[in-house]
Symmetry: C2
Subunit: 138 residues, 2 copies
């Protein structure tokens, strides 16, 4: 299967694309000559990982009849100082809120995503170790 993203330059350093029928705007910040019409491109690498593994984990937990009150996926990436400035480490924090959430099922869902289903994580793991952390708050 092939995926295609077509980004059009719109103004100064801003670009826009329609992806799955939804608009995305990327831009540089004002200090580097952009207009801040949209987010910076590199962080989308982290958003891609967060969304990919987040959707996996919610899907798997639902099948296990586990329903948290809230769920956040926080992805942290360290960026190299020298050009080309790229991610050199990544950590995914899975933060759940809810009563009596079963840590074993949550751990299993995350492991399944990180080892079997999430293609974004599988790609990044060819470059670096994607660390994971679980936080369960009442």
């Amino acid at each position: 299967m092939k995926h295609v993203v077509d980004m059009s330059w719109t103004d100064k350093l801003a670009f826009t694309a329609e992806i799955d029928g939804h608009n995305l705007i990327l831009d540089a910040d004002i200090d580097t000559g952009g207009s801040d019409l949209g987010m910076r491109p590199k962080k989308l690498m982290l958003a891609s990982l967060a969304g990919c593994t987040g959707i996996d984990v919610v899907s798997i937990l639902n099948k296990m009849k586990v329903f948290p009150d809230s769920f956040n996926v926080i992805v942290e990436g360290d960026v190299s100082e020298e050009h080309p400035k790229r991610y050199t480490s990544m950590k995914v924090i899975y933060r759940f809120k809810g009563k009596d959430l079963p840590i074993d099922k949550i751990q299993k869902a995350i492991t399944l995503s990180q080892t079997k289903y999430c293609g974004v994580s599988a790609f990044y793991q060819q470059v670096l170790d994607v660390k994971t952390e679980i936080e369960i708050l009442p």
Copy 2:
């Protein structure tokens, strides 16, 4: 430097994040249990590459006094059939429209982005060969 993206689960399989002050919504499609409130996560890997190298190339060309009438960055990615479904090849097509555009300067700007500045491409090149193509239309 550290980048952080915090995605909140909002409903069914949908997630949202604020990145650089701009909202992003990711979701699965309806066939796989989502509501299509936003785009699929994996394609953001391609959008990240398109925006990163696109901003580089426009910036460099502007310094070279090259101003195309239009400019698109099209990123194609082949996805593996088996889980985890991940990109196995990528191609970036730089499509310019304009009169008397200097191919040598355009080639130089793209090479600088792909080899020196674009941290997304540098990351992906650790996994696969990021192919490039240039199209110049009148």
